[in-house]
């Protein structure tokens, strides 16, 4: 199944709204199941269900482990477990957008929607830069492990400061160089041309998109109704 970026963005926004309105775990589990099904239909990869399994792990901790552990442990872990669990439906939507949307398609759709070019460039670069950032972080971590940077230092404050410096400085240098590389590539592709680009990757909203949007709006309206009118 192929969904338009607008549909996916609307689903994400409405999911976030439902999560903030909803207090019922059963509804949240329902949302997770629907979104996981959507993710599987879009990516056709069952491995993407790891987020759902992780979510059920958090649910199990909250409802099976917390009632039997001492109250102090429950107090300590309550906020992280509940907060992270509550973020899962939105995380699944972000994952769906990230895994199934190509940047060129996103740019074409946003251009057709008359979103300012500057905003499109910023968003496109942001989406493209995330994998590079993760890769860079791994390189820095490996380099630090090989050189044993904080090996001879016993003072914990100095160790932390040195670690922060060793992570941040290469990251900043890499960021600035990446910006240069990306802008050269973007200019070569004509991103800063004053004329409106042709949108070869643009696709119109299809029946499945309208169906998904209607379902998402209906589910959000239901969530709103049950929260405010049925208590």
């Amino acid at each position: 199944m192929v969904l338009d970026i607008r549909t996916k963005l609307l689903v994400m926004l409405l999911t976030a709204t439902c999560v903030s309105l909803n207090n019922n775990v059963a509804v949240e589990i329902g949302m997770m199941l629907i979104l996981s099904l959507l993710l599987i239909l879009c990516t056709k990869n069952l491995h993407d269900l790891w987020l759902l399994l992780l979510y059920f792990g958090f649910v199990a901790i909250e409802f099976l482990v917390f009632p039997v552990v001492p109250d102090t442990v429950s107090m300590l872990l309550s906020m992280p477990v509940v907060n992270i669990r509550g973020f899962f439906p939105v995380l699944l939507c972000v994952f769906l957008i990230y895994k199934t949307t190509e940047v060129s398609q996103m740019m074409a759709t946003f251009t057709k929607m008359h979103i300012p070019k500057k905003l499109i460039i910023t968003l496109a670069v942001a989406v493209r830069y995330i994998p590079s950032l993760i890769e860079e972080w791994h390189h820095i971590r490996d380099a630090m492990a090989v050189r044993n940077v904080t090996g001879g230092i016993r003072n914990p404050v100095r160790r932390i400061l040195l670690r922060v410096e060793c992570y941040l400085v290469p990251l900043f240098i890499s960021m600035i160089r990446t910006a240069d590389g990306l802008s050269a590539a973007a200019i070569a592709r004509g991103i800063d041309e004053p004329v409106t680009p042709t949108c070869r990757r643009y696709t119109r909203l299809r029946a499945i998109d309208y169906l998904m949007m209607t379902a998402a709006i209906a589910l959000t309206a239901g969530c709103f109704y049950f929260t405010y009118f049925r208590g």
């Binding site: 976030a16 906020m79 950032l133 900043f172 240098i173 910006a179 802008s183």
Partner: protein, 200 residues
Amino acid sequence: MKHESAKMTTRDYITGAIFSVLSIVCMMISAIANMSGKTALFYPALTAFFIGILFLILLVKVPKRGIVIVFSIVPAVYFLTSGLLEGMIGITGILIFAFLTEWILSKDRSSLKRITLGGLVYTMNYSTIGFAENFLATDNYCDNALAHGINPSVVEGMRRMYAIKPLWAVAIAATLLTAFLGMQVGKIIMKKHLKKVGLA
């Protein structure tokens, strides 16, 4: 001498976007503070420290009108993941402070003092608008946390903490202090490393 255009170029937008992504990473790392009711008070301060470093380096690298707005775009989109109403409040907050910072920087973008002042104003968003619900609608916020399943003892602790209104001023002061410290760290990194390799 190389003369750069006063208007933002594609390269500047890309640099701003990359720093903007890193600011989101910083916000996520700082969210560790939100893992307990008591330490949540210092989430804006922790965020401000990292944002301070990024802000100073970005403003020195791209001293142009509009860069603070570009820097705020990705965090603004990130706020949308917190729901329609909360997201709108978050976006409004970050944009108001971004425009205010642009206004402060409009007269002189070369002065480090002015950049520091701009950075202090920019990071204020996290402790003012970011904490508005916690301190102004404490009962609503705590009832919501309780309904979402957070341990009642933790929620009671939060209710007592947020009832002490001067703590809001403490959170704002801590945010200003850490933002200042972050910008000092940014200056050190710039002088010690980035200038040496010709990147600042």
